[in-house]
């Protein structure tokens, strides 16, 4: 009997869509955060990070942020000084950019190859606090995951390595993605 039920259970999902849970994008005021503080917009050096005009290749890192099981969007324009062209969905820098930058709001961080930048640097360029008990404007124990695995310690120290998939969560657990498919060239 049990064997039959197990067989039925295992065969039931065939032909059905895979079970994937969507998490809604947060829209409360705390979820709408500007991409850069005035110092970054002006291209000043931030915590040792210099704003340069190198247009060479970059490597991709993907970060996802969740607050109370809602998505906190990582905006386009982090690490991008004025001026730029485009719109909130895709920026084209017209001035200098930093070793870590976002050109769209997909959570993909473009990192200069060889640059030793950390997640803390991204938040510094964003102008937002992050730490074991803080994620942007939200307080609470911050859970960090890299490649789907829990990472203890201060999330600011997480290095931005090529194709790393980093998830930070506060106020509720969301099963983290282990990987992300990057476009060619990143």
């Amino acid at each position: 009997m049990i064997a039959i039920l197990l067989a039925l259970a295992l065969s039931a999902p065939s032909g059905l869509p895979p079970s994937v849970h969507p998490w809604p994008i947060g829209v409360d005021p705390g979820f709408r955060i500007a991409a850069a503080p005035p110092a970054v917009l002006a291209g000043r050096t931030i915590g040792g990070l210099r704003c340069g005009r190198s247009d060479g290749s970059r490597v991709g890192v993907h970060i996802e942020l969740f607050v109370r099981r809602q998505v906190l969007i990582v905006p386009a324009g982090i690490g991008v000084a004025r001026p730029w062209r485009g719109h909130p969905a895709r920026l084209t820098p017209g001035g200098c950019t930093y070793p870590a930058r976002t050109l769209d709001p997909t959570g993909v961080i473009e990192v200069s190859p060889g640059a030793r930048v950390t997640l803390g640097d991204v938040f510094r360029l964003w102008g937002q606090p992050v730490g074991p008990g803080r994620l942007a404007g939200f307080r609470g124990k911050v859970l960090a995951f890299v490649g789907g695995r829990r990472r203890s310690g201060d999330p600011r120290t997480i290095p931005l390595r090529r194709h790393a998939q980093i998830v930070l969560e506060v106020g509720g657990y969301v099963p983290p993605h282990p990987r992300y498919l990057f476009v060619r060239g990143l």
Partner: protein, 211 residues
């Protein structure tokens, strides 16, 4: 013995119920549609002319009071962290719609090489034209199909395919809502319930024997 067996079965049921549950948000389209009405694929190119045509169709829909957002998904890369949804436009439309639920209540159209899907309010919409859509290959094929579908959905009337690159079935659009979104969840819950019943039965049987 029966109690042990019941415990094992219950644990197996829990594992089965949650097996295969993946996570999101990691799909680029949701982040782009947060601020725009159109997501173009990043895995291939869409010509400016085809993009403009789709943009115009979306504008017409908004002007007609029938807002719509459109995502063109040409490859697995366009789905970022949920590539397993490639090839299933109906499910991805519902998925995307759920992600945008707090900021958008209009219709959401997804076009993939395998077909198209339409969703609103967390449910798929069984629109005849959408169900029958067979996009032409390439980014422009997806955009052409999407533009045509947006016009059909907006007007409720079939629109002649342009350039012969798109095949869309004619017929008035019916907007009956399917009840499909939680199919996987409902299946898992049903299976879980069956196993719990078995486990409870086993425990009661063991108690009766012991007594």
């Amino acid at each position: 013995m029966a109690i042990r067996l019941a415990s094992v079965v219950a644990l197996a049921a829990v594992a089965l119920a949650f097996a295969g549950t993946a996570r999101a948000d990691a799909d680029p389209a949701s982040d782009i549609l947060y601020v725009r009405n159109m997501f173009l694929p990043i895995s291939t190119t869409v010509s400016p002319a085809a993009a403009a045509k789709l943009r115009a169709a979306i504008s017409r829909a908004h002007a007609a009071g029938r807002p719509i957002k459109v995502a063109l998904i040409a490859g697995r890369t366009d789905l970022g962290g949920v590539p397993q949804l490639f090839g299933n436009p109906v499910y991805y439309a519902r998925f995307l719609d759920a992600e945008l639920q707090f900021l958008y209540s209009g219709r959401l159209l997804v076009v993939m090489p395998q077909g198209a899907g339409l969703a609103q309010g967390g449910r798929a919409i069984a629109d005849k034209a959408v169900v029958a859509a067979k996009p032409a290959p390439g980014g422009d094929g997806l955009a052409e199909t999407a533009a045509q579908l947006v016009d059909e959905i907006t007007t409720g009337k079939p629109v002649a395919p342009s350039g012969g690159t798109v095949t869309v079935a004619t017929g008035s659009a019916s907007h009956s809502k399917s009840s499909g979104f939680p199919v996987g969840l409902v299946t898992a819950v049903a299976i879980f319930a069956v196993f719990v019943l078995i486990a409870v039965g086993g425990v009661l049987l063991a108690k009766r024997r012991n007594a």
